[in-house]
């Protein structure tokens, strides 16, 4: 097998759960998120000759993101693949941690997505930057702002626990 194909398979085996959980925040459930991950890796594998270097995981993420948005749109509006119309990521099962879910809802959608990429998909700053096509500085700033916004929740948790 070729080098990029091997790397895609490694990324899949290492990061499948993180990808699925992050995508579930967009698609709304685990099954469709799983389908989006499968589809995205299949497309990435098929089109691997188009990979031009940089972060392979970020490249796959961008494909997965498009696939997930397409799924979300089909289910919600039937509209075409419009990024901003569908970008409203949320915790899959808010009952598991209602406080966290509520606090996350207070974040703007893009910042929320960065938080999900950090904590669900376990992306580092450079991967998030590459995935979202923004600078690492913007990632750091967004996460810092998110933490500030979540501070009240975190502090109250600190008191209780």
């Amino acid at each position: 097998m070729d080098e990029v194909g091997d790397a895609i398979e490694r990324a899949y085996r290492d990061r499948y759960v993180g990808f699925r959980n992050a995508l579930a925040t967009i698609t709304g459930n685990r099954e469709s998120a799983r389908d989006a991950v499968q589809e995205a890796f299949a497309r990435a594998y098929r089109d691997r000759a188009d990979f031009r270097g940089g972060s392979l995981e970020a490249w796959i993420w961008r494909i997965a993101f498009r696939v997930a948005l397409g799924q979300a749109n089909v289910k919600t509006t039937g509209a075409s693949n419009e990024v901003n119309g569908a970008l409203d990521p949320s915790v899959l099962d808010p009952e598991l941690d209602p406080e966290l879910a509520r606090a996350l809802r207070s974040l703007p959608p893009r910042r929320r997505l960065i938080v999900f990429l950090r904590y669900f998909a376990d992306f580092d700053y450079s991967q998030i930057a590459a995935a979202c096509e923004i600078s690492e500085g913007t990632v750091a700033a967004s996460l810092a702002q998110a933490r500030t916004q979540l501070k009240q929740l975190l502090e109250s948790e600190g008191v209780r626990r």
Binding site: Y16, A49, D97
Partner: protein
Amino acid sequence: MTESDADRRIASRFAAIADRKDDSDWHDVLRRAEDRGVPHPRRPPLRRVAIAAAPAAAIVTAVLLLAGDAIFPGAPPERALAITHDADPVTKEDSVRIRVVNAGADPDQMNAELREAGINACVETVPVTRDSVGDWLGVGASGGSPDGLPSEPPEPGSGDFPVGRFLETLADQIDEHPKFITVSIPLPRGVSRLELQVGRPAEPGEEPVSAEGPIWAGGPCFRPGFSNENSTP
């Protein structure tokens, strides 16, 4: 609470609610890829031409560098914008990423460079403090009302109309990373011209505009939001 404390605590909350079930299936990925007719790593047909052309290009480049102004008496001006095309690997939609590399350049030069990239734009430069030089500060659009668009101009943020979404996307980008914007091309139906504001160094004695201040009203073209050229009586 330090930032790393906060990071740890958020991570632990996410870990507690994360779905750990691993239902991955690599063979299914391969099957799906095969179903679509997987091309094995392919060599772009132009590569051979590129390789063959490389030595010739190197010679031409060397000659041009050596000759310099003898061939081009008026050497081409420094680029005002760094513009890169980026086709989405899935949708194949084309987009351009635009970064200002010479904020002191004439707006007409920026307009010309954008036109070369397929964008009809009117750029306006605004005096700003040093840290905002080269930042994209505002975005607007003008156009007509072709079929399918509302007679009233959509508000940015409405999300209901292609133009509204288009402007909202650009405005979000400027909020998140003012140093560059990515514009999908062609421009959406109904948008005939993109209007942009960019920060430039303030001239001596000129008052820089602050982000919190009023909208700069000194330029020839920029109007925030959408202006419908056909709506005026």
